[in-house]
């Protein structure tokens, strides 16, 4: 499992600490860029994130303009599973709000990208100006049957 932030997932933490699950924790921006690099055909890139920490152990480092950087490899997977708000039969995707996050970067960072959408529409319905991820990066698409959107931290303010 390669992950950046697992937050309040107690079961994950238990599995990791007991050694049941092999985990590689990666800085969030580095994880995003590893996916993007795979999508874009770059084998690797340099980032300052993690220099001098255990994340950089065993990795090549290099000075650019007086600042140390760590060489990180692209992360190409066999399958990418993403979730979008709307999609069409060409595989074009539109995401909603902060649910965009890693999704557009993982599309095409795998041999087969599978997209689940809340609403699957016929060709021509989505405005090409509004597409976040072009269908070329998506090989499979389907409309999910039921979406239960759980909120991990429900924070509200009082009406005055």
């Amino acid at each position: 499992m390669i992950s950046s932030y697992v937050g309040e997932n107690d079961e994950f933490e238990r599995q990791m600490l007991s050694g049941e699950l092999e985990v590689e924790l990666t800085p969030q921006g580095t994880l995003a860029e590893k996916c993007r690099a795979a999508q874009a055909g770059f084998p690797a890139f340099y980032t300052p994130a993690g220099y001098g920490t255990e994340v950089a152990e065993g990795k090549e480092t290099r000075d650019f303009n007086g600042k140390m950087h760590v060489l990180e490899l692209a992360y190409k997977a066999d399958f990418a599973f993403v979730k979008a708000w709307k999609g069409d039969e060409a595989g074009n995707l539109i995401f909603k709000g902060t649910a965009r996050n890693f999704n557009p970067l993982m599309c095409g960072a795998a041999t087969i990208t599978v997209a689940e959408v809340e609403e699957l529409v016929p060709l021509g319905v989505l405005d090409p100006n509004h597409i976040h991820t072009p269908g070329i990066f998506v090989q499979r698409i389907f409309q999910g049957e039921k979406f239960e959107k759980r909120i991990e931290q429900r924070t509200v303010r009082q009406r005055s």
Binding site: E13, L17, G52
Partner: protein, 217 residues
Amino acid sequence: MLDKNGIAKRIAKEVKNGYYVNLGIGIPTLVANFVRDDIEVEFQSENGVLGMGPFPFEGEEDADIINAGKQTITTMPGASFFDSATSFSMIRGKHVHLTILGAMEVSENGDIANWKIPGKMVKGMGGAMDLVASADNIIVAMMHTNKRGESKLLKKCSLPLTGVGCVTKVVTNLAVLEIKNNQFYLLERAPGVSVEVIQNATEGTLIIEGEIPEMDI
């Protein structure tokens, strides 16, 4: 001595007109509540939103609009959503002016540890390593000592590092300190807190030059 809101209130004074600001989880999140309302500031959350607003009213929460701490939020007019690579382009590319984050330990040479307690806590570093490695202007918000009363301002961090030589300013419940020349410089005291109390709570090298003023908050 300050409480968490007091620390946030003091840090809010560091936020200037026109700033893009990234706020970490915990005390840093509270800073938004104390920023003067006559200046324009945009808050960035690294999960993919710029122009973050206050928490939503009850019944208006949207599971698809959250901050990096997974809290439901709202957006301000002029806000934008984006993917994680774009988000960290803003951070790595130094487009964000100020980063405020919490810490478990800070050392006198500006190292910070805030992501892992070996064998105990593994939530992951999230965006913290990217933030501390890239930002020029980092303020750490934390309590001066841990729950056992031990100093969190050290000669050398004992926990796994998040970044090296990156912290320039620390605001605690006791003091405002600047880090330079591998030393902590005492800038301000919290209301009612003596220099002696701060000295005793600081394990790292503390430089006290002249009369140390009380914080104006």
